[in-house]
Assembly symmetry: C2
Homo-oligomer: 384 residues x 2
Amino acid sequence: MRRVAVIGVGVTKFGKHERSSSELFAEAAADALADAGLPASAVQAVYYGNVVGGETEHQLHTSPQAASILGLPAVPTTRIENACASSHVAFRHAVMEVGSGTSDVVLVGGGERVLNVPTAESTEYFAYASDAAWEQTLGLTFPGVFALIARAHMQKYGTTEAQMAAVAVKNHKHAVHNPKAQFQKEITLEQVLKSAYVADPLKLYDCCPFTDGGAALVLASEEVARRSRKPVWVLAAAAAADWMLMADKRDLSRVPATERAAAAAYRQAGIGPQDVDVVELHDCFTIAEIVATEGLGLFEPGAGGRAAAEGQTSLGGKIPVNVSGGLKAKGHPIGATGAAQVAEIVTQLRGEAGPRQVEGARRGLAHTLGGNTATVCVSLFGRD
Amino acid sequence: MRRVAVIGVGVTKFGKHERSSSELFAEAAADALADAGLPASAVQAVYYGNVVGGETEHQLHTSPQAASILGLPAVPTTRIENACASSHVAFRHAVMEVGSGTSDVVLVGGGERVLNVPTAESTEYFAYASDAAWEQTLGLTFPGVFALIARAHMQKYGTTEAQMAAVAVKNHKHAVHNPKAQFQKEITLEQVLKSAYVADPLKLYDCCPFTDGGAALVLASEEVARRSRKPVWVLAAAAAADWMLMADKRDLSRVPATERAAAAAYRQAGIGPQDVDVVELHDCFTIAEIVATEGLGLFEPGAGGRAAAEGQTSLGGKIPVNVSGGLKAKGHPIGATGAAQVAEIVTQLRGEAGPRQVEGARRGLAHTLGGNTATVCVSLFGRD
């Protein structure tokens, strides 16, 4: 496989929009192309992550639609749906397309629109990522999935609601410095702990919001990347899965797909967790961040909650996690999330993150989780 | 890119099923693995095409679900949705995964279930593949899209309703020899011509049916393939797009995405249309077959209708098209269609198609179209 670089990134403001998901992706893509200094005509393939477009917009076949908006009617387009990991899965395939020599310049990203329907409706559509026959019928929605995970982690390791709340407080604090974030405001530990239970032990402020938004990346071969400003190299792009059903998982305090994808990514890159300077990971719920920091090898199993409460994952801490604000405060436009995480890592490694910059960051990691933890992607990045 | 072979194929009976699309895919996948002589544990990645699972089954994130059913909880899985071309797009990416050296054995296919909802509902869901804002709002469904194409072709070339009907008669005749086909019965030209108009000039028997079904393929690197019985080599796997909106297309008598994908495929394989012995192409409506035979270079523009009526595309004719029965008679489980077409070509090139065998077939072509002709895949295959 050839070396692959990210040479352009674009992210829309996250929040509520009066535009379609394809239009949101196209806006981000135009920014990413401008950032890369390339015209749309340079793009040889489009990879597009979108999850509930069929449900919230009555729109399928979104990849050629997005490409049409960008004035790209001829190149191959692919829509990928792997629940909340969609655009990270798309990213991995785009890396393969460039790495294999099939294309030199590829556009990849995602878009999602959900705030045009009531919250109860989006919650139901999101639950389509769990099993229709065995889980949806029991009323299992995603707050319930992660409440089960939280309970298992609390029982096994003594993780507390206050430690989980610390993740929310940290990510909101980070988001203050991210103008694209949905919530640019701090919250207090007390606010989190006093917020209403959504699925015990998870409270409202343990949960990420519903979000509209788009994100895009321009990938290029080494030859093209060498002519661009500040290319960021893809050191690894790995994916793994797990049993679909919660009932088939042996230990809910862990996410085996994260551990598998991380092991594959570190092996591909020839580095370990100790070599990573900045991490964007999938904090759809605060407990998800704690379990992910353990699964990625940043902390020992069971140590993630304490590490968060101690500030080890804060900007300026041992290993800053979700300095963008994370899904929790930046927002979670599901199909766009993976690409937005990669965009943040690229911005950090370029040293262009302004007041949320992790000083001297040379290597970064992006982690995205889909559904009942049945899809996980982990990618690693480095600068020259 | 390394050489890639298809070493196993599996297709369910097409028609109505009381199983989920993931279960249908898994059934086909188990057959494909048995055909390849490999255990499920040999599979290193799963690519899965499914279109309206969110709508008809309330099920997203179908690729890990299908992998779980197969007892494959750990390997990367990808769900791809490009309307009716979904599993052919998935096939192209699976070829890239093996070709790039990322994996040696990959499972790819698709599944779809639509007969569990009323026809009016499926028709609406299928229309989600056209533009929600500019086309669905005008009531444009797929019979309407292809009726526009038929009218343009009739006006420009004098193509007749009888020529279109000849395609239906031929494909039904072929399907008699395919035990997996939804309709294993012949129809007459008169029956087609006297059937009710669905979207003038297209009548009921010009349209393919709604279908449940699954199809799967096992792809392998050359090293693995050399140890299998009768590997069929992938000579090319190409995709192309076109403007999403019908209103943006300049000449409705042509499908530029077919022409682009065919040109790329012939270039990759180093052969031309004259070298192809057997073709499975996307006859969602009879006019679609006529336009595709022209776009693939099998006949001059405007000559496709006459060629069909003269029997040139029948089993035993100059270039047999859709000897499986095609979407028209074999059935069209949309997410599974592309993989099922490839399975037929592989069966033909192995010489194992029984009474529908194209004698001496050495090279085959599969063509799949998605949505308003905005995604097209063309792949070429050859035997040793």
